[in-house]
Amino acid sequence: MKKTIVVAMAGVALGAVVLMRAEPDVVPPPAVRAPVVEMHAQPPAAAPEREIAVDPSVLATPEARAYVERVDFEARARRFFTDPRALAPAEREREAQALTAAIDRYERARQLSAGEAMNLRIGLVRATVDDEAVQVDRIADIVAAYRADGERREARFIEQQRGDAAFVEYKAREAAIVAEVMAMAAIPDGLTREEYLRRRLQAERVALSH
């Protein structure tokens, strides 16, 4: 029952959020119709409608806002890339800037991978720049920036690994265990040398992780 009310409130609230952006004066109604929802492995069958009271506080939840904004961004981007030249140049540029701002935000929040963000930025250049020479320069700048950032991150990771005392200790133990096992004349427990070595090294990693 509680989940049903939450579903109904969430559904109406999200709908109201979407509309409220266009019409700030709209106020959520006190009661609406909403279907009852059960938790099923498959999409549920249609359920009888019932009226549920709406709690306007659902509108303000981070989950609801984030979901609606993300759905809106993806729909907007798809519409844009479907036919960017259907828009007048000034409008196309405005929309591209809005999408760029969203890409920046989502990329910072790790909601776009670097690869996906780069492709989107390249797509925006191709959609808004008619001069191919300028396109080449801008795309090259984007690629160079991503490459440089990737190299910095990789270098930082390698440096962190070098300074990771547990990992350094493991590598020393790994070399010692390998030398020991490779020199063994007989392998215990009926294991192959390879499996015994794997288990010894895994045990070492487990021990060092605690």
């Binding site: 509309l19 929802v37 939840t61 670097a114 492709n119 690629v143 794997r198």
Partner: protein, 465 residues
């Protein structure tokens, strides 16, 4: 005011619902269930059983209370999932293995994408020696990997983007599992290799060819933390394509989707019978090398594990994997694709095994020698797949990107078979949404491909490599 507000809210609800994908797929939640999921993320409903934690290549989970980094309600974000040593997972250099999940609220459907990135089987290739084709991520996987423009990750496929400027495919709305590559063994090995430096200048390189166990650990985590997928696509390019193929049986069995799909992009496992004549089976020398280097034939090892679950697999010829999977899962839709003019996977397959190629007087001669062997192997694979109704083969000729390697990276364009008016997307749709036999198609001539106009996007991406 009350009437207007009621109508406005109802209209708003309709707008929100309209923002959902217009065509609901099998496995999609209803709009209302999606909204509920935002506040109460669905949990696992097909967890690892005690029996699955035993036996060969068991499904092993993180210890209780382990901070794996997952937040169930953090939809839309690339989350780094850490796997403890207890799971058996590890990168080639002994560092921690991790993978990445991007979850959505509106569906159970899931894509498992295996990253590509070469292969290695000896000291020069596994140590990252310059001038030798090696393998991705020799130093392991950083936590912020998805924020890093790794050249391999940069060739991102439309399969694992939410919004691609270039192509749309239904997996863009699915839960995404990105499996990074750090073992150099096309996700198929199980051996701690000790590679001596041929120059004796450095200590031996200890390299964990641990691909099978890493994949098992990923599957265990998915079963323990996420709902069972209704539809599941297993795919990847290059080593990721090969890894999708070799792991499909186990992934399919254990994740147990209602509908399973496989697309092996440019990771062929060619017919290579043990002891076969390289003139007839050009990949025999490679196969011999990796079967030993990656521990494939060790007692209870990867080949034995595959054979125990795939009755039609011949352990002496791993090219029978296609036939075996086709027979094991007759209702699944499976596909393989690669370019005839591939110069990447083909170079890995032949370059270091044939002195005539290594010693070729010029690049054109080298490429011709490589192509000749690739043609023999590809022709045999094409014939095999033509005989399997649920396993299609799609072989375009050439694309001016990444040495004509991988058809499904960056975009789905220019993998066309002009002679039949087919696009790569036609093949992808045949696998994911088709009925009847999965499409088979092969392009005879690369003339039309090479006559295409300069592609600025491809040229740009190639600069990253």
């Amino acid at each position: 005011m009350k009437t207007r507000s009621t109508l406005a809210a109802l209209a708003g609800g309709l707008v929100a619902l309209a923002a959902m994908p217009a065509h609901a797929e099998l496995g999609d939640y209803s709009a209302w269930q999606t909204f509920l999921n935002l506040f109460s993320p669905p949990g696992a409903d097909n967890p690892v059983t005690p029996a699955q934690r035993q036996g060969p290549y068991p499904l092993l989970s993180n210890p209780a209370g382990y901070a794996d980094g997952f937040s169930p309600g953090n939809y839309g974000a690339w989350q780094t999932i850490k796997l403890a040593p207890e799971t058996g997972a590890v990168c080639g250099n002994g560092s921690q293995y991790k993978f990445f999940v991007n979850r959505v609220a509106n569906t159970r459907n899931t894509i498992v994408y295996m990253e590509g990135g070469g292969a290695c089987w000896d000291y020069p290739s596994c140590s990252g020696q310059s001038g030798i084709r090696g393998a991705r991520n020799p130093n392991g996987i950083p936590d912020d990997y998805m924020a890093l423009m790794n050249p391999g990750a940069s060739l991102v496929s439309p399969f694992v983007t939410r919004v691609s400027p270039f192509d749309a495919v239904k997996t863009q709305g699915w839960n995404m599992v990105y499996v990074p590559y750090c073992t150099g063994d096309i996700y198929s090995g199980d051996k701690v290799a000790v590679y001596a430096d041929p120059t004796n200048a450095n200590p031996p390189l200890v390299w964990h060819h641990n691909g099978v166990r890493n994949t098992r650990a990923v599957i265990a985590w998915l079963k323990d933390r996420l709902p069972r997928p209704t539809q599941m696509l297993s795919t990847g390019c290059s080593a990721g394509g090969a890894g999708s193929l070799t792991n499909y049986q186990a992934v399919r069995r254990d994740l147990a989707p209602d509908r399973g799909y496989l697309i092996d992009d440019s990771g062929p496992i060619f017919a290579s019978p043990i002891g076969g004549d390289p003139a007839q089976y050009p990949s025999v020398p490679l196969s011999t090398q990796i079967r030993s280097a990656w521990g494939l034939d060790l007692p209870g090892g990867p080949v034995a594990y595959l054979a125990a679950n795939l009755p039609l697999l011949s352990t002496v010829n791993l090219g029978t994997l296609y036939n075996a999977l086709s027979a094991k899962y007759p209702a699944d839709r499976l596909g393989h694709t690669h370019f005839w003019k591939d110069l990447n996977y083909s170079s890995y397959s032949y370059e270091r095994f044939y002195p005539a190629i290594q010693n070729a007087p010029d690049q054109a001669t080298k490429e011709a020698l490589i192509h000749a062997r690739w043609d023999i192997d590809t022709n045999r694979l094409k014939t095999t797949l033509n005989g399997l109704a649920n396993f299609g083969g799609y072989f375009p000729q050439y694309r001016a990107l990444n040495e004509s390697h991988c058809t499904t990276i960056v975009d789905f364009k220019n993998g066309d078979v002009q002679e039949r008016g087919l696009e790569l997307k036609t093949f992808i749709d045949s696998v994911l949404d088709g009925s009847g036999a999965v499409l088979d198609a092969s392009e005879a001539s690369d003339a039309a491909d090479r006559a295409k106009a300069f592609n600025l996007l491809y040229w740009t991406v190639d600069q990253l490599l």
